[in-house]
Structure formats: structure tokens, C-alpha cells
């Protein structure tokens, strides 16, 4: 059902955990539906210097979280913002149709973390 890449990211992900004093946190998803993703980012010089995830969810939710982190780490904010759910899914060699919503969650998670960073910056 899942690609080997999905399983790899699910089983061996190293990107998870909290970032203390993160510059932005994106919290997306819904406990009730079984998928919750928190994306932590640390920004330095307009780059995403560090990023981590915490995810409650299925294999696809965890794998897309992990892949999303890989895709944004070290990248300029603009590039991170441009990442689509399709790109995440493709990077994982695809997802089963009923799991595509997980990749949407990942896209939203990134965006939401960056927004959080932006709004904090504005308010400072």
C-alpha cells in the first residue's frame, strides 16, 4: 500500500521532536480525525536553520511530516512557502489516494509555522 520511501521516512525519521524557543510553530489537523501535525521552525538570516515535527497520526502523516522537514531545512522562507502538497507526495514516491490529505496537512503545517513566525516578528 505504501511506497518504500514512505515506510523509510515513517520508520527512520530523525526530524521529530520539539524545538525549544522555536521562531514559529504551525499546528494543523484535528485530533478527532486522527491526524495532528505540529511543525517547529528556527529562522536565521531568512533561512530555515532548523525544523522539527511532532505528529499524531498514521504512517502517511508521519512520513509526510518527516519529508516536509527535509524539504524545508536550510531553505529560504520563500522556497518553503512554495512547497505544495503534491511535491511532498511526489518526493515520497506517491501516496495512496485516501492518504493525500496527509500531504495537504504537511503543506499547511509549513505555511502555518511560517505565518506564526511572521506574525510574531511583526508584533515584536
Amino acid at each position: 500500500m505504501y511506497s518504500t520511501k514512505v515506510i523509510e521516512h515513517f520508520k527512520n525519521s530523525k526530524n521529530y521532536g520539539k524545538i525549544e524557543n522555536a521562531d514559529g510553530i504551525g499546528k494543523v489537523g484535528n485530533k478527532k480525525c486522527g491526524d495532528v501535525m505540529w511543525i517547529y521552525i528556527k529562522i536565521e538570516n531568512g533561512l530555515i536553520a532548523d525544523a522539527k515535527f511532532e505528529t499524531f497520526g498514521c504512517v502517511a502523516a508521519i512520513a509526510t511530516s518527516s519529508m516536509a522537514i527535509d524539504m524545508i531545512k536550510g531553505k529560504p522562507i520563500e522556497e518553503a512557502l512554495a512547497i505544495t502538497n503534491k511535491a511532498v507526495a511526489e518526493a515520497l514516491d506517491g501516496l495512496p489516494p485516501e492518504k493525500m490529505h496527509c500531504s495537504i496537512l504537511a503543506e499547511e503545517g509549513i505555511k502555518s509555522a511560517i505565518e506564526d513566525y511572521m506574525s510574531k516578528k511583526k508584533n515584536n
Binding site: I7, K11, E54, G57, C58
Partner: protein, 389 residues
């Protein structure tokens, strides 16, 4: 995957080798159509007679009360749709429970949506029991059928069938029970339970897939679902699946002979699993009523993580289990059974069903008890809701 690490016997069972052996001659040597005239066909007919007796014995029924179907789903549909079609003029109300298998629930829903029936779904308490009082209050003059399962497939809770049947009968209402999960595991005595109809399935009792039985008490009349050549006394047409029938018969015979020993072996293993999990993993809920329910079934919610992920980690380590999580069931909602017993959605998502059977061993149980905490710890370390890291 090593068979001993298969912990999903409520989903399906391997076919017992004695059953496979019993079936073999009916593929080629004794392939004849039992309805045919020549003497070789008589051997197939005779094999069916024997299987019917074996199935009857398992239920303490008469052979004439046993009707072979293509599985538990068909048996459930035949009973429910059969009563609905036959007695529609008499009444259009059916009572069932909130924790039935889809084979019952969806059938009732179809009757409600398309055929003018009204269906009452009795709620259950936090251990999964239907209340006799509520059944009593739900029966109306238009009620023609009560269908409540014997053992629940997810949590193993056993309903107080005898009392429920008495209530239905005191109001002249037929009672059907889906006994797919209890039959072959514990004594199921139709005379004692008093049910009018009972379904069971071959592939849950080490028989071949695609075979089931509907027990229909002598004198109870229902419409058929499949019409044709008048097989099974006109109740279920279709050339008899002789091989399958021989298989379910043999499986029934073996189940009757060995179920007491199975319980002796499996109940301690199940209890050991429960104790071990509670000791090694914090924040776990036990669902259902393991002490009084099916001795082979354990359902737990491992809070703060999601079931499919647990299954996937365990699968990688060679263990086969199931979960009531939405993800593993391919629907959008988690198990309706777990919600019905009052679990929060997120705890239902984190549920794990461990169901034991013939080929499990203490060894395998120890392995699982060793692996599970590691898996849970890793997933919890990823979870935003687990704060004890």
C-alpha cells in the same frame, strides 16, 4: 511473517490442516453435482449430510435447521432481509444494537433507506453491553425482528443473549444473533439461548473462506435472498459448494472437540498480555470487558498515538494485529464500536485489537510484550500530545 506472531484471529484464521485434507477429494475425485442423479453424486450429497450434522452439533441444533451460505455476511443478510421481506405487512420496525458488525448495520441501514423500515439502534454501556431494559422499552407493535450480536468482534463483549431473547419472545418478536465471533470459541447452544436465527462463518473457525451457516429454528419462515434451483430446501439456491461445506463441517467438528482446550491455553496468554501491557506502557485504556468477554480478545487504547502507525511498526517487526483507527479501516471515522462505548475519537484512533488463536504461543506473547513498549515509546516521542518524554 511467522504464523506464531499472528494476533488477528478475529479477522480470519488459517484453515486447519485437517480441514484442508478433508476438502481435497471434493475438488477432483468427488466433484459431482450433488443434485445429479448418478450414484457418484450421492457421495457428494452424503458429504453434505455429514457436514450438516457436524454444524448442527456445534450449535446443539437439528441438521434440518442448518442452512449453508457463502459466509457470515450472507447469513446476516439472509436472516435480516429474509424476515423483513416476509413480514413487512406485519410490521416495519427492526431493533439492533449500535455495535453490530457492518453486515448487520449496513443491511438495516439499507432497509431503512430504501425499503420503508424503521430501525432502532440500541446504545451500549461503557463495557459494550446492551441494556435489557432499553430493549424492553424499544419493542413496539410493529417490531418484527431483534438482531443483536453474541460476541463483539472488536472488544469481545458477550451480550446477555438469553435474557434479550426472552424479552423479544415475550412480545412475539423473532430474534437473530450474529454469532460469528463466539461460535467455535465458546459453547453456543441455540436451544439454551433460544434464538430463532443465528449466523456463523467458516473462516473464523479455521474453515475455508466463503462459507457460512444460518441456523433457522424449525418453524421459522423467512424469504430467501437467492432464488434458483431450490437448494437448501429452497432457502438458499446455488449449486452447493461441496468442498466448502465439507470444510465448514470439519471445522465445526474440530472446534467442538477442542474449544475447551483452546480456552485453557489462550485465556492465560490473553491475560498475560493485558497485565504486561498495563505494566510496561503508561496511559493505556482497556476496552470492553475482557474477564467476561471472549477469552481470546484484548482491546486497548494506547493514548496519544495512532493505531495505523502502531500496526505499521509492529508489521515491520513481523506482528499482525488490527486497530479501530480510521486510517486502518479506510473509512473516515474510527471504530463505531469504540465510539459507542464512549471512547473519545483520539482514543479510538489509538486502539489496538489483539486476538489470539491456535498457533500463538507463550513465546510469541513474550515477543510482543517486548516489542510493543519500544514501538509505543518511539511513536509517543513523535506525538505532540505525549508530554512525559
Amino acid at each position: 511473517m511467522d504464523l506464531k506472531n499472528y494476533f488477528d484471529y478475529n479477522a480470519t484464521t488459517p484453515v486447519d490442516t485437517r480441514v484442508i485434507e478433508a476438502m481435497q477429494p471434493f475438488f477432483f475425485e468427488n466433484f459431482h453435482n450433488p443434485s445429479s442423479f448418478y450414484s457418484k453424486a450421492g457421495e457428494a450429497l452424503h458429504a453434505i449430510d455429514i457436514a450438516r450434522e457436524q454444524a448442527a452439533k456445534l450449535l446443539n441444533a437439528q441438521p434440518e435447521e442448518i442452512f449453508f451460505t457463502s459466509g457470515g455476511t450472507e447469513s446476516d443478510n439472509l436472516a435480516i432481509q429474509g424476515v423483513a421481506s416476509m413480514y413487512k405487512e406485519k410490521g416495519n420496525h427492526i431493533i439492533t444494537s449500535a455495535i453490530e458488525h457492518p453486515a448487520v448495520l449496513k443491511t438495516c441501514q439499507f432497509l431503512a433507506k430504501k425499503k420503508g423500515f424503521e430501525v432502532t439502534y440500541l446504545p451500549v454501556d461503557e463495557k459494550g453491553y446492551v441494556s435489557t431494559k432499553e430493549l424492553k422499552e424499544s419493542i413496539k407493535d410493529t417490531t418484527i425482528l431483534v438482531t443483536i450480536m453474541h460476541a463483539n468482534n472488536e472488544i469481545g463483549t458477550l451480550q446477555p443473549l438469553k435474557e434479550l431473547v426472552e424479552i423479544a419472545h415475550s412480545r412475539g418478536v423473532y430474534f437473530h444473533t450474529d454469532a460469528v465471533q463466539s461460535t467455535g470459541k465458546i459453547p453456543v447452544d441455540v436451544k439454551n439461548l433460544g434464538v430463532d436465527m443465528l449466523s456463523f462463518s467458516s473462516h473464523k473457525i479455521y474453515g475455508p473462506k466463503g462459507m457460512g451457516v444460518l441456523y433457522l429454528k424449525k418453524g421459522v419462515k423467512i424469504d430467501p435472498l437467492l432464488f434458483g434451483g431450490g437448494h437448501e430446501h429452497g432457502l438458499r439456491a446455488g449449486t452447493e459448494n461441496v468442498t466448502g461445506i465439507v470444510g465448514i463441517g470439519k471445522a465445526a467438528e474440530i472446534a467442538l472437540a477442542e474449544m475447551a482446550d483452546e480456552e485453557k491455553k489462550l485465556r492465560p496468554l490473553r491475560d498475560r498480555l493485558k497485565k504486561g501491557i498495563l505494566e510496561t506502557i503508561p496511559d493505556v485504556l482497556v476496552n470492553g470487558d475482557p474477564e467476561n468477554g471472549l477469552y481470546n480478545t484484548l482491546n486497548v487504547s494506547i493514548r496519544h498515538i495512532e493505531g495505523e502507525s502502531i500496526l505499521a511498526m509492529l508489521d515491520a517487526d513481523g506482528f499482525a494485529l488490527s486497530s479501530g483507527s480510521a486510517c486502518s479501516s479506510k473509512s473516515l471515522d474510527p471504530s463505531h464500536v469504540l465510539l459507542a462505548i464512549g471512547l473519545k475519537h483520539e482514543d479510538a484512533h489509538g486502539s489496538l485489537r489483539i486476538s489470539l488463536g491456535k498457533y500463538n504461543s507463550e513465546d510469541a506473547v513474550n515477543n510482543l510484550l517486548e516489542t510493543l513498549p519500544t514501538v509505543v515509546q518511539r511513536l509517543r516521542s513523535m506525538s505532540p500530545f505525549w508530554t512525559n518524554k
